[in-house]
């Protein structure tokens, strides 16, 4: 089992009121839940089932994920720069694992 790699691309600064792009992707070992092991047992599903982005601890973007979405989900969305602070990104995986990234952000 290896540690997934969550990544974000987001600017470090923006003008107050400016709309900026956020891009995220996570590469992990996905299991569909439809495959069987050598003994014929179903290999448990392991997908990213939830993604949340918070801006200074307020949820600004949230997604519930199900089957038939890319193994390594990619999101691109827009936010409005209101104040300096922190963007937090959280990915939840089947089985209970949680992966996080934070990004300091300055509004000038």
């Amino acid at each position: 089992m290896t540690t997934p790699t969550p990544r974000v691309i987001v600017p470090n600064t923006a003008a107050k009121g400016e709309i900026f792009q956020v891009k995220t992707i996570i590469s992990h070992e996905m299991e569909t839940g439809l495959r069987h092991d050598d003994q014929g047992n179903v290999i448990p599903r392991k997908i990213i089932n939830k993604f949340v982005c918070s801006y200074n601890e307020t949820v600004v973007f949230s997604v519930d994920l199900h089957e038939a979405i890319s193994a390594n989900p990619f999101f691109e969305f827009s936010l409005r720069a209101t104040e300096s602070g922190r963007l937090d990104f959280v990915w939840e995986e089947d089985g209970g694992a949680v992966y996080m990234l934070s990004h300091q952000f300055t509004v000038g």
Partner: protein, 422 residues
């Protein structure tokens, strides 16, 4: 391998038939001259099949290199699984067994009106028909900073030779724990599965020698050839080692910095221990110079005769052409070359025409004992090359099926290169 043998037999039968048809007509006449520029798979095959099938045609092959190293299977050399010599093929058999005049010079210009080719040494060759098999060139300034000097630091290794040797040396001297960054090109490009086969075999090498190393693929695309097969294999063989980032995430590679071995995308900069930068491609330089390529950078051709749509009397085969459904693979080049050779023979000698049967067969390694294959047939439909029947390996195949494919690939290589170089 049985189907290969049958197909091979069919081609030989066709060749023998042509010879029989041609000989009576040729007696007492001056030989028609065909010049073939480029001794890669496409060019060498045209030369060989013309020389073997029509004694009334004098065939000259212009190729600056003394030996040709195949791009296919060069990922095996890159990762220590094959010698460079095993990829190298000379032109001696083409000259001795088939009477082809092999000239080791570069063609520098084509004069279609005068029907001559100018060589680097100042001499000129006259032709009745010309075949140009120029392969690929890299698009200028596709990636900022990626010039000739940068290629010596961050090799492309997309023409087998010194570049492949350089990348192998870099991978071997890289410290365990280093990051190998592979920049994958936009479509269309030479050998669609090859960047991902390369990542797979480098991962296999790292697993044996540098288990803490990582591979990052920065793609110019949002999806790639046989993606399901590759990603399944990466999870099975190299969990967590290979990360693939689509263009939609990075914004695409815009520049490199050779000094710091960094790859710069619209959204982020990635510093590599070893970087393999495969830039956007187009038809080889000579095709551009001679007006054989259109604005796409590739060469439009008639899908039956492979005659240029832009310059009558000039034929093109291989990676440089706009091949419709046919991928830019060596096997496609070989298949196009046979159709082209027979069409030229028919034109010059008045012999019967045969409908072209075009094929692709490729083997791709996911690990040294895990390979997948495809087999596709093509035919001209409304001026374009369309796929007719295709077989492609599936994700859930057993490891035994994949082991057999890896073994069959070795036989495929030997039979295929024998077909081209004799």
């Amino acid at each position: 391998m049985k189907s290969w043998t049958r197909r091979e037999f069919g081609r030989l039968t066709g060749a023998a038939l042509l010879t029989a048809l041609n000989q009576p007509k040729a007696r007492g006449q001056a030989k028609a001259r065909v010049v073939v520029i480029g001794g890669g798979i496409g060019g060498a095959t045209v030369a060989r099949y013309l020389a073997a099938s029509a004694t009334a045609i004098e065939v000259t092959l212009v190729e600056p290199r003394q030996t040709y190293a195949t791009c296919f299977f060069s990922n095996l050399y890159l990762t220590g699984l094959r010698s460079f010599e095993s990829l190298s093929h000379g032109y001696e058999a083409l000259a001795k067994q088939y009477g082809i005049i092999v000239i080791h010079e570069s063609a520098v210009a084509i004069h279609p009106a005068a029907k001559t080719v100018a060589l680097n040494n100042g001499s000129k060759l006259s032709y009745d028909r010309l075949v140009v098999a120029p392969g690929i060139a890299f698009r200028d300034r596709a990636i900022k900073g990626y010039d000739e000097a940068a290629m010596e630091i961050m090799p492309h290794a997309w023409n087998a030779g010194q570049q492949t040797r350089l990348l192998r040396q870099q991978l071997e001297s890289m410290e365990d724990g280093g990051l190998f960054v592979l920049v994958a090109p936009p479509n269309p490009f030479r050998c669609p599965p090859a960047p991902y086969e390369r990542a797979s075999l480098v991962a296999s090498y790292f697993q044996r020698r540098k288990p803490k190393a990582k591979i990052l693929i920065l793609d110019a695309k949002d999806s790639f050839n046989a993606q399901d097969l590759f990603q399944d294999a990466w999870n099975r063989h190299y969990p967590g080692m290979i990360e693939w980032l689509p263009a939609q995430f990075t914004g695409g590679v815009t520049a490199i910095d050779a000094k710091t071995r960094s790859v710069i995308t619209a959204g982020a900069t990635f510093k590599a221990a070893v970087a393999n930068v495969i830039p956007a491609q187009m038809a080889g330089r000579l095709a551009q110079l001679a007006g054989l390529a259109n604005r796409s950078g590739w060469c439009p051709v008639d899908p039956v005769t492979f005659e240029s749509a832009l310059q009558p009397g000039v034929h093109l085969v291989g990676d440089a052409i706009i091949g419709g459904d046919m991928p830019k693979s060596a096997f496609c080049a070989n298949s196009q070359a046979k159709a082209c050779a027979f069409a030229i023979a028919a034109d010059l000698t008045g012999s019967a025409r045969f409908p072209a049967h075009l094929f692709n067969t490729c083997y791709t390694y996911l690990a040294p004992d895990d390979a997948f294959s495809n087999a596709i047939s093509f035919k001209p439909v409304d001026g374009k090359l369309k796929s007719v029947i295709s077989f492609v390996s599936k994700v859930e195949e057993s490891s035994e099926v994949r082991r057999q494919a890896a073994r069959a690939a070795e036989g495929w290589y030997d039979a295929f290169t024998h077909d081209v170089f004799g």
